[in-house]
Structures are given as structure tokens and as C-alpha cells.
Amino acid sequence: MVESKKVSVDIFGSCVSRDFFEAGEHPFIINNFYSFISPISLYLPGTREIPDLEEMTPWLNRNYSFDLRKDLFDHIQDNRSDYLILDLADIRYPITCYSSQKGKFYVTNSRMNRNYSELIRNHFGCDEVITNAFNIDYHTLKNGLSYFSNKVLEVYKRDKIILIEPVLAEEYLEKGVTYRFVGDAGATNAFLRKCYNYVENILRCHIIRIPASVTANSEHRWGLDRLHYCDATYADILESVRKIILQCKPVEETKRKICTYGPISIRKIEIENNSQISLRKAFYQSSPLPTPGYSIGKVDLERYEESIAESNIVAEDINKSNFFCAVG
């Protein structure tokens, strides 16, 4: 593909996937930007009936309506671009459940819902229950992400999807000095990693990972936020996207991966030579009973450092761990 030809893209995701397009010159036209919508909300029941939304911008109202009606994929299908830029950072938003006599419907509790919550409750005469993203039922989360990914694959081929994986920055830069954000984003980032992992394995598309060491920028045009990165990060993302699109890169074919846990699992299976499966790690000599929740604080075992080295054990963080053998 030549540089001069314009390539159209749709974005589904957070501000990160919009902002990197500002990081330099490029031949891309952004057709649609869908945001503030949790993929899980799209899997849950919606409502066709929506009161007049007037207080916010037309773009925010449109996104909120897609989320309430659950007709986003119809719009994506009818307005498809050459590529889809996808990021799932908005999955961190809580999910709101409205229960009225007509039934229940769900929507992402992002800024639009917080603004329109009273309007919706008054219109339907209903209650509102908000569930933190971490507390979404395991199977709803899994089924929701599976549904979302498969809907995306109905519209875009794998090599036309670029999955960007933003993480919450732990540090920010202010006038050349690095500061640490108050509070720890570790749990949210682990949650995001879990969701990205699952979607990666379904979509098997182009992937751009944001390093965990990413730094936020206090002078960002939209203000300080853990997802408002420094310019260099956006420039790197843009460069990766340019390479994928302009070089028409095919998606790298990789084998499906398995891990096994327990002595039966590894002994029972046979992996054929020409199998499209690769065994990554096999755990055994590991009881499920001493789970990390039972280890508290730090027990110093430094005096066994030498024995650990002699037995060819690689100690990572024994205090958070089970003690087991892993081959792979």
C-alpha cells in the first residue's frame, strides 16, 4: 500500500486509541470513534426505549445510546472502515443495572450514565445497582468477552484488527520530574491483562502492548490521568500502527497454547509431532491447598539460598508462591 492512499479506521476503545493519532503525520482517516462502552455491557440486555438525551454532546449521547440499545455492532457493520483499532481499557468501568417493572437493562457506568442516571431512573421509575468491574461474575465476564470478540470477527478479518492494550500508569511526569500516583493500579492492570489475554486468544489479530512502565503526563491536553500518556508513548503506538497497516502485515500464525496442572494432566496427554498445540508449562508436585491467600507477609529463607541454587531451583518470590515443578 502506498503512503499517499488514505486508509480509513474505526476506533473502539479508550482515549489512548484516539490520542495516538495526534502524535504525528499519518495517512489515516478516523471514521468512527466508539468510546465509554464496556464490552461486557454489550453482551447484557439493553433497552430500545430511551428518553431524550440532550445535556451532553451528540457524540457522547450517541455512544450512550449504542450502549443502552446494544445495537453498536449494527452500526459498526454498516459503517465499516478498512481497519479496526480496538482497545478494551473501558472494561474497567462498572456496569449499571436498571430494574424496572418492564425488566432489567444494563449500561456502562461511565461519565454519560453518571450524568443521565437520574433521568433514566425517573423515566422508567426504576432502581439502579452498580457493579464494580472486578465483581462482575466470572462467567458473565468470560461469555461477554467471547461474545464481543466474535461479533468483532463477524465484521473484520483478523489481519484488519489492531488490538492495543493500554495499562494504567503508576507514575507521571511533571516539569521533568517523575512522581508516583497515589494508590496502586496493580489490581486493575492485572484485571486488564486477564481480559486482554483472553481476547488475544480469540481474535489472534495484530497486538500492540503498552509497557507496564508507561508514564503519564501532567501536561496532557486532557489533564492528568493514568491513561493520558507522554508523547513518546503515543509516537511509538502510531509508528507500530503505521507499520502494520502500510506494510500490509499479515497476522503471525501461532500455535494454540496449553498449560497443565497436576501429575495426571501431563501424563495423560499425548501431543502429536505435527500438532498445532504447544505445551508451555506443566505444573506438578503442587497441591491446590496451600494457595497464596494462606501465606502472609514475608518469611525469610535466605539461609537456603545455596541449597536452592544447588537444586537448580529458580526462586522468584517464594512468599507469594506455591512450591512446584514447572517444565516447559
Binding site: 466470572y138 468470560k142 468477552l145 492485572a190 491483562r193 486477564k194 481480559c195 489475554n197 483472553y198 494454540r256 497454547k257 496449553i258 498449560c259 497443565t260 496442572y261 497436576g262 501429575p263 495426571i264 494432566s265 501424563r267 495423560k268 496427554i269 499425548e270 501431543i271 502429536e272 498445540i277 508451555r280 508449562k281 506438578y284 508436585q285 503442587s286 497441591s287 491446590p288 491447598l289 496451600p290 494457595t291 497464596p292 494462606y294 501465606s295 502472609i296 507477609g297 518469611v299 529463607l301 537456603y304 541449597s307 536452592i308 537444586s311 537448580n312 531451583i313 529458580v314 526462586a315 522468584e316 517464594i318 512468599n319 507469594k320 506455591n322 512450591f323 512446584f324 515443578c325 514447572a326
Partner: protein, 170 residues
């Protein structure tokens, strides 16, 4: 020489991102150990790798060893629920479970009684995994006299084809 990692299965699942996790809880038979210093506690499997370290408690360290048949049913259930929570916190992929039916023909009566209790507790562990992780496929495996070397192999392709069929019918 193989390298032996000391790392929680949970962080490995997050790092390796497997499509499938094939699991069994046969190692639930291995005793657990606990080393406590003041309010700090380390809970581990007493694996043969641990034995090689020749651990000896020093003054101030409280060492405790527990077999599953010394645990109450409630304790086993609570620990298994925590284990499943750990998996759920890091992994959304497909799970295949191998459920072991053990029979011990050459054991003494006393050992047999212990074994019956272990199997009874293990069946609860499998029930909790069924309830919490809802594996896509469950495969029964007969283990006679602890002979794991004699297990008949199943092709991984056959297992995963079965998983795909099962997923489509759900």
C-alpha cells in the same frame, strides 16, 4: 537439567496466556507445610523439591506439616475456593478437568481407610472446581495403586476437538 521454578501457577497463567488449562488435583495428596515467624506465614506444598532443601526450623520459626486427611472438610472447601478464585483472577480460557477415580488394591486396611478419606475429600475438591470454574470438558481417569506411569494416553487433538464440540452445544 530441567529448571525448577518457584512461582505461583497464577502468575504463570497470566504471563503465558494459554488457550487451555488441563488440570487435576491429584497432588492434593501431598502434605502442605506452613512456616510461621510472628505474624508472617509461608504456606507451601511439601514437594520432593522442598525435601531436597533439607529445611530445619530455627529459633522463632514454627513449622507445621499437615496432610489433607488431617484437615476438616470445611478447611478443604475454603482452601479449594481460594484456589479457584486465584485461577479466576488470572485466567478466562477453557478448562479441561481430569477427575481421578482411585482404587488401592494392595494396601493394608489402615492405609485403605486413610485413602478412602483422601478420596472423599478429593471428590469435594472436584465438586468445587465444577461449580466455580465450570470446566468445558471432564475426563474420568482410573488410577490403580497410584500407578501414574501406566495411564493410557489421550491425544491432545481429540481432547480439544471434544472441547470445541462441547462449546458449540452450550
Amino acid at each position: 537439567m530441567q529448571r525448577i521454578l518457584i512461582k505461583a501457577i497464577f502468575s504463570v497463567l497470566l504471563d503465558e496466556n494459554p488457550d487451555y488449562l488441563l488440570m487435576d488435583v491429584y497432588d492434593i495428596r501431598i502434605p502442605t507445610i506452613s512456616i510461621q515467624i510472628n505474624d508472617n506465614r509461608l504456606d507451601l506444598t511439601k514437594s520432593f523439591y522442598w525435601d531436597k532443601i533439607n529445611y530445619q526450623p530455627v529459633f522463632g520459626e514454627k513449622y507445621d506439616e499437615k496432610k489433607i486427611n488431617q484437615m476438616s472438610l470445611n478447611e478443604v472447601i475454603e482452601r479449594m475456593e481460594r484456589f479457584c478464585d486465584g485461577i479466576k483472577n488470572v485466567f478466562l480460557g477453557d478448562i479441561v478437568i481430569f477427575k481421578t477415580n482411585t482404587s488401592e488394591e494392595i494396601l493394608s486396611e489402615v492405609t485403605k481407610r486413610k485413602s478412602i478419606r483422601i478420596n472423599y475429600l478429593m471428590s469435594f475438591a472436584y465438586e468445587i472446581i465444577d461449580r466455580e470454574l465450570m470446566p468445558l470438558l471432564s475426563i474420568d481417569v482410573d488410577v490403580v495403586n497410584g500407578d501414574l506411569g501406566g495411564l493410557k494416553k489421550i491425544s491432545i487433538s481429540d481432547i480439544l476437538n471434544e472441547v470445541k464440540r462441547d462449546r458449540q452445544t452450550r
